[in-house]
């Protein structure tokens, strides 16, 4: 690997990762924040490639860039437009910044000051096979627990997000009322008490 190309890859990917992460802090729209998160995750996947962890890089792209970001976008779009404001911060931002600064100073100090005894051996080849084998051989118990955890999370997420039948009827009625009305419904008012008042009428009308 040519040294210049490696340097270029590392610094540009590092800039992409940190830049995307910083843009999340200042972006005012939550959807933009998720897009910046995707950029940061892609940068991290590239950094995994520079560390010759190909399998983890592909998993990162599949799960974070593909699945989790889409899940977040869905959650944002299922809540009304008024909730997409990312610009509000808590009032105690000063102490939070102070805590973060202390953590940053201490971690950076440890990272730079410690003698890690880094060795540069040849990277693992055939990583997907090796990881799969060790998952089945050495780490079979954590693997099974992980499977149970994922199933529990799946069932739990469905059970939490599922609407009761009455709620679903009211919600569908309010959606229908919104569609029947003029196209420019004020998105802020959609969720307010008028729904409950309008819903029986539109049910009666339909």
């Amino acid at each position: 690997m040519s040294d210049f190309g490696f340097h270029l890859a590392f610094w540009s990917l590092a800039a992409m990762t940190l830049g995307g992460a910083s843009m999340i802090i200042i972006s005012r729209n939550l959807i933009h924040a998720v897009i910046w998160l995707v950029m940061s995750m892609l940068g991290i996947a590239g950094l995994y490639l520079t560390l010759s962890a190909d399998f983890i890089a592909v998993v990162q792209v599949l799960i974070y860039v593909g699945a989790i970001s889409v899940l977040m976008l869905f959650a944002i779009m299922l809540t009304p437009r008024a909730e997409r404001d990312n610009s509000q911060n808590i009032k105690t931002g000063g102490p939070a910044a102070l805590v973060v600064l202390l953590v940053m100073i201490s971690t950076l100090w440890v990272a730079i000051d410690t003698d890690w005894g880094a060795v540069r051996e040849a990277a693992l080849t055939d990583q997907a096979r090796l990881i799969g084998e060790s998952l089945i051989k050495h780490y079979i118990l954590p693997f099974e627990i992980g499977a149970v955890l994922l199933t529990a999370a799946l069932v739990g997420a469905i059970a939490l997000a599922r609407q009761d039948d009455e709620d679903a009827a009211v919600h569908a009625a309010s959606l229908q009322a919104e569609l029947d009305g003029e196209g420019s419904v004020d998105p802020v008012n959609v969720v307010d008490p008028p729904i409950a008042a309008e819903a029986p009428d539109s049910e009666a009308a339909s």
Partner: protein, 104 residues
């Protein structure tokens, strides 16, 4: 100057701190989840860096560890977003300082 372990560690530490600050300062619950995801990714990056610059037998276990972290993070985000939806449905807001049901 060659790119060594320290470069990745410093990058991971900075990314962790950015995620920490987002998780602490955002009012929107999804914003807080984004911060937590960034922190998890920073830890993964640090682990993979140790895997590359460590002994070969350590390298494999570290990568398996990262696979587990990614699986747990995916479960966490699914349940977290479902919780945000439920809180929104009941309280008409997902702002973390206006959901004060447990406040005495």
């Amino acid at each position: 100057m060659i790119i060594g372990l320290e470069h990745y560690l410093v990058l991971g530490a900075l990314l962790f701190c950015i995620g920490f600050f987002i998780a602490l300062s955002k009012k929107n619950a999804v914003g807080v989840l984004i911060g937590v995801e960034l922190m998890l990714n920073a830890v993964n990056l640090t682990l993979i860096a140790f895997s590359r610059f460590g002994a070969t037998e350590v390298a494999l276990s570290t990568q398996v560890f990262v696979v587990f972290i990614i699986a747990v993070a995916a479960a966490e985000v699914a349940v977290g977003l479902a919780l945000a939806l439920v809180v929104y449905r009941n309280r008409q807001t997902i702002s973390v300082d206006r959901t004060t049901l447990l406040k005495g």
